[in-house]
Point group: none
Chain length 120, copies 2
């Protein structure tokens, strides 16, 4: 997982995707994140995709699946930093990602998952 | 975008469509609005279509797509000022626009997107 570092910021796992991921890395990320949510008793997961110009259907579905899996583990996932062009492309592809929460910035995302408050 | 001015009213982008748009302008509007949501950290988008006598299927779908894209960018889109005849036509065309929020007036729309409150 060297390519996708995960940092614990006050009980929230911050994942900054650095560049286009190959499909294997995406699947690995999903497994790693869900394990870390439990291991670190994380309240939430922020996935920063601000460097991505393109989000393909596989990554989009994985983001949705990560959010669903962490939700089952009582943690919220928020995707932050989506570019406007990526949003338009996702809509054109019909990938509306229901249930996936988004925020413009890491700060907004931290506010969404209740950063600074105790895990319920 | 001279034909479709976008005004920021307390963190909400207000778009007043002035006359029938050609298809190119509609696509341009979608791109411009999503970019402005991010650039201006807008909480919501109000699209005023009160001057329109007719909403064709392309514009209707674009309104829906704008709402979906801004939703991915953590902003809500509300279409305001739809005329009764337009509503009837949209239903007859089978364009129910699921997920698209509407309000009768700009004031009602601003209330819907939580105007005056801090961005969550």
């Amino acid at each position: 997982m060297a390519r996708v570092p995960v940092v614990n910021v006050g009980g929230v796992l911050l994942v900054s995707i650095q560049d286009e991921l190959v499909d294997d890395s995406v699947a690995e990320l999903q497994q790693h994140l869900t394990e870390q949510v439990v291991a670190q008793r994380a309240r939430g997961v922020l996935i920063d995709i601000s460097v991505l110009d393109v989000v393909d259907s596989f990554l989009a579905r994985t983001l949705h699946d990560i959010a669903a899996a962490t939700s089952l583990l009582a943690a919220q996932t928020v995707v932050v930093g989506m570019r406007p062009a990526v949003a338009i492309t996702l809509v054109e592809l019909g990938l509306m990602l229901p249930g996936l929460r988004t925020a413009l910035s890491v700060d907004d995302g931290l506010a969404l998952v209740g950063h600074g408050t105790a895990r319920p």
